[in-house]
Amino acid sequence: MGSSISLEGVTFSYPGGSAVFADISLTVEDGGVYSLLGPNGTGKSTLLKCMAGLMAPSHGRVLLDGRDIAGMQPHEIARRIGFVPQTQVSPFPFLVRDIVLMGRASHLSVFAAPSGDDEAIAADALDRVGISHLAERPCTGISGGEWQLVLIARAIAQRPGILLLDEPTSHLDLGNQVRVLDVIRGLAEDGMTIVVATHFPDHALLTSSRVAILKDQRILAMGPPEEVIREDTMHQAYGADVRIVHLGDPINRRICVPVAATFRRGTP
């Protein structure tokens, strides 16, 4: 069973600056994948970090399972929320399994070191993400795509109820993108609540049960993907033209492809 996060009237602005987003209210709960779309710079990452309790909103509250996240200790939050950031590979040559093992920190007291049980949970997390074969590799010897999977495994090792992923596919090649999306769907099917900030509307169509678009400091639209991802909303959000097409069997889903005047090359 997943946890729930509620945002009530959340506003965030940097000191001395204007608001990044204002008066956002939404609730994430009970399984499923939520996609957060929006152009560069609208504050998707910031919103996600506010949800994870890593940044404090200037106004409003974030509630985790009904409790104000601001009053919670880091380890209490980390047992419920797993946050997968966008980072470069760590410069320290820790082994992949030791990186994933760090996910157990919130379950261990300050004086404790990880036990055999913790190592087993970490191994299981590696397995669910499909990178068990990388366990003994130093993390300086893996690619960016593999690193993203390691971070997901680390978040899973926290055994959270909610997983927040900040643009997990942005730097990945096609194969790895597909892999990550599949892992996400698999986790959602197992009951985890997942929030993904992403650049790719098509990925949202692929995985999500609900979508929200963040633009101009507010939520432009929120709801099931069929309602939110439409050609007019995409144009409003990104200033780009798209075509939403339903492909028949065997693919059997709606896809979103960009269309631009310069792309049209007719056969002579």
Binding site: I77, R79, G130, V178, N252
Partner: protein
Amino acid sequence: MSLKPADGRGVHAGEGARATGTATPKQVQSRSWGEQHPGTVQVLLLGVLGIVAFIALMAGRYMVPPDTVIAVVLSSVFPIEETWTPTAASAVVNVRIPRIIAGLLVGAGLAVSGASFQGMFRNPLVSSQILGVAAGAGFGAAIGILISDSLVLVQVLSFVFGLLAVGAAYGLSRVRSTTPILMLVLSGIVIASLFSALTSMVKYVADPMNKMPAIVFWLLGSLNHVSAPDLMVLGPIIAVSIAGLLVVRWRINVLTMGDEEARALGVNTEHLKLVIILLSTVITAAAVCMSGIIGWIGLVIPHMGRMLVGPDNRYLLPVSVLLGGAFLIAVDTVARTAAPAEIPIGILTAIIGAPIFAVLLRRNNPGW
């Protein structure tokens, strides 16, 4: 529409390189033997430490035959007939043993606090003196020497001001209830410069024949003036603080991921940083007030440790303790036996350590 391959197997069956798609761009570094057997390395180092301490006990400018040394040491536990002079006993018990214990504590303490700071600051070039503890302790000692003849007062003031300096650096670096690493470094530089300048001012006021050289000399690293009473007080302080750092060593791993990620993983980074800073500072301040400023150890021993067992602090910190202790005992033994006059230990730590470090650097990949 499912993404699963047509044969229905899930992605997470072991599919080798295909599962990850691209070939790994960086060269895969093979792990050293030490990294694969960290426990054995620690046992071996313990043995090395024992041997080094034993040799140190035997060596000295006052000739005591080896069997006498052993007899003297054992006689504190077992009743053995005294066939030696009181001076020989004094040389072993009052001069050598305190010095060896001091070398162990100071070497181990500086090494482990250096390793902890390097993890916390995510920078291999820091030592525990980056927050100004040595500059503060030097100032305290200078004031003590200036106003009195009492060695105890000098040591107390040195310890107190060492802590005060770091406290000031910590307070200066607080930004809205967090202490960002960059602010800590900058504050440390500011505070260290301030206390350095104050120490120069004290030197200026002091009489140039007695007090000023005494101040400068006190700051030079030396285990020559460590006495048993010093050790009784400062020894447990250092030992307990080392133990404290060892207890949280796994969490330092998490801290190396960066403040934000560590917090996301559930670590209370502010508390942890404060604990590390406090323990490391206590160790360094106690070491400085016992034996002056001995450089190089907090910086280089962790590197050597990393080359032996890798960056995992679960193994790196204990290895640093053993390596640092053995190293300083060995260097101090050379300092007091190689020449008629004592060789300053700071020079020796550099001369002996640097070539060893250079050799290690050439053989392994440098960096973390």
